[in-house]
Amino acid sequence: MKSENQINDYAVEIENLGRNFGKFEAVKSVDLKVLKGTVFGLLGVNGAGKSTIIKMLVGHLRPTYGRIRILGRPLEEDPIEIRKRVAYVSENRYLYEWMTVAESLRFTRAFHANWDDAKAASLLKRFSLPPEKKVKQLSRGNRARLCLLLALSFNPELIILDEPTSGLDPIVRRDFIENIVSEISEEGKTVLFSSHIVEEVERVADYVGIINEGEMLMVSSIDEIKGSYKRVRYATNGTRPEVASVPGVLAVENGRHEQVLTVHGWGDETMLALAARGVANPEVLPISLEDIFVSKVRAERERRAGL
C-alpha cells in the first residue's frame, strides 16, 4: 500500500531511459522522478538531450530502452488517456498557420472534454491576443502565449514545456515564466520544463535536473543545491595550491591573486584538506545555480576528456 501511494505521488517517473539515433546515444540511462504539484526544470546546454527526453515523455519518440510512467500510468498503456491530462508545448510551438486565434481555440476545444471556456476567455484577455488575427500574423511572443493558453485551458494535471521561452525577448520571456508561476501557485499543477537559461530555471523551479550529453548529472531541489554547494574564495599570494584533488571540489577558477572553488558538501573536512594544501583564510560565498551548472558540466567534460 505504501509503495502504491509513493507511485501516485509522482507526476513523472523515468527509469533507465535511453534513446539512440543510429550509433549516437542521445539519452543515456536517465532516471528521474517529478513530484506532483512541483515545478521541475530540466537544465542543459543545446543538444544535451532535453528535447529528446521530453519527446519520449509525450510519445513522439520511442525509447530505445527504459520505462516511463506519467501520472502513475505506464505511457505505452493508454497514451490517449494520459494526453487528456497532460499538456505539451513544443519548442517550435506548432500551430496551424492558416487558422485565426479564435479558430485555434474552437478547434482545440473539440478535443478536450474538460475544456474551460471561462478560463480560455480570461487567458485570452490576460494575454491580449487578438481573436481575429491569423496565427501566421502573430509575433513570437503571441504565438508562445497562444500555445500556453491552449495548454492551460483544458485544466491539465501536468504541463510539459520544451524550451518555452526560446526565441523570446527578455520582457516576454519573464512574462511567460511569471504566467506559468501564477498558474502553478493558483492550482497546484505539475510543470516540467526544459531550458538552457539557468536564470529562468532558478527563478521558477522547485527542482532541477542538470543534463549533459544525454546523461543526468544531478537531480535535486533548488534549496538543497544551494545548501550543499558553496563557492570558496581565497588569496593565493603568488603560489597556487593544488586543490583540484580535494574531495568535493568540482571546479577551480584561477584569478591573478586568488582562486575560487566550487565545492559540494562544504564542511570541516574540506576546510582541513584545503588547509593541508596551504589554503589560508578561505571565504565562503553564496552560490548561484549558474555557478553549479557551469562547474558540473565543466567537471563532466574534463572527466570525459581524461583530465
Partner: protein, 267 residues
C-alpha cells in the same frame, strides 16, 4: 472519437483542401473549356445542330468522352497523384500535424480523416469530370449552333451519359487506387517533394507496365467499328471482378499507410 472531434477534423480537412480541390476540378476541365471556347468563338467551326443527324451529334459526344478518358488516365492521374501526395507529407514536413498529436486523439483516426476527405474529393473530381465533360460539350454544341433543336440530339445525349456514368465508376475506382498509392508515399516520405518524385516514378513505372494495355483501350475506344460508330465497349459494361480487385488494392494501400503512420516517430 466524439462528435465534436469528428466535426473539428472534417472542418480542418475541408478548410485546408477546398482551394486545392477547386484548382484540381478546374485543371481537369481546362482542356475541355479551351476546346469549348474554340468552338463557340470561331464561326468556321460552328455547326447547324438542326441539320445534324443523331449519329453525328452522338459522335461528337463520344469523342469528348474518349478524349476526357484519355486525359484522365494520363495527365489526370499525375494531377491526382500531386493532389494526394501533399495530404500527409506536407503536414509532416512543416510539422503542423504535431498540433494534432498533442491532442487526445488516436493516430489512426487522424489518418483516416485525411484519407477519407482526400479520397472523396479526388474520386468525385475524377469521376464527375466525365459527366460534366459531356454536359459541357453538349451545352457548347447548343450554344454554338445556329439553329437550336434539342429534340434530335437528346436521346443521343442520354445514351452517351449512360456510358459516361459507367465510365465514371471505372475512373473513380482507378482514381481511388492511384490516390491510395500516392497517399502511402505521402505517409512514408516526410519531405513532400520526395513523395512527389516517388509518386511520379511509380506512376511512370505503372504506365510502363500497364501503358500498353491502357493505350490499347483508348485506341480501341476511339476506333470506329464496322457499323461506323465509336467503339465504346469499355463504357458499356461494369465488370465486378477488376473493380473489386482494384478496391481491394486501394484498401490494402490504405492499411499499409496506417501501418507506416502508426510506427512513425515525430522527430
Amino acid at each position: 472519437m466524439t462528435k465534436a472531434m469528428i466535426k473539428a477534423m472534417l472542418w480542418k480537412e475541408w478548410r485546408e483542401t477546398r482551394w486545392k480541390w477547386l484548382a484540381f476540378a478546374v485543371a481537369f476541365h481546362l482542356p475541355l473549356f479551351l476546346a469549348g471556347l474554340v468552338i463557340t468563338l470561331q464561326e468556321s467551326v460552328q455547326f447547324d445542330l438542326q441539320a445534324m443527324s443523331d449519329p453525328i451529334a452522338g459522335q461528337v459526344l463520344e469523342v469528348a468522352l474518349v478524349a476526357q478518358s484519355a486525359f484522365l488516365i494520363t495527365a489526370g492521374l499525375f494531377l491526382l497523384a500531386f493532389f494526394a501526395v501533399g495530404s500527409v507529407g506536407a503536414e509532416l514536413d512543416n510539422h503542423s500535424m504535431f498540433f494534432i498529436f498533442e491532442r487526445p486523439v488516436k493516430r489512426w483516426n487522424v489518418l483516416l480523416f485525411k484519407y477519407a476527405v482526400g479520397a472523396v474529393q479526388a474520386t468525385t473530381c475524377v469521376g464527375l469530370s466525365l459527366i460534366t465533360t459531356l454536359s459541357f460539350v453538349y451545352a457548347v454544341m447548343v450554344a454554338g449552333s445556329t439553329h437550336v433543336t434539342l429534340e434530335g440530339s437528346w436521346s443521343t445525349f442520354t445514351n452517351v451519359v449512360a456510358n459516361g456514368t459507367r465510365g465514371t465508376v471505372w475512373t473513380m475506382v482507378i482514381g481511388l487506387m492511384v490516390y491510395s498509392a500516392t497517399f502511402l508515399f505521402s505517409v512514408v516520405f516526410e519531405k513532400w517533394w520526395i513523395a512527389v518524385i516517388a509518386g511520379a516514378i511509380s506512376l511512370v513505372g505503372m504506365f510502363y507496365y500497364f501503358g500498353g494495355i491502357l493505350f490499347d483501350l483508348i485506341i480501341s475506344a476511339a476506333t470506329r467499328d464496322k457499323g461506323g460508330d465509336v467503339n465504346l465497349d469499355l463504357y458499356g459494361r461494369l465488370d465486378p471482378v477488376p473493380i473489386l480487385i482494384m478496391l481491394m488494392v486501394s484498401t490494402g494501400l490504405y492499411f499499409a499507410s496506417q501501418y507506416v503512420f502508426a510506427r512513425k516517430e515525430m522527430k
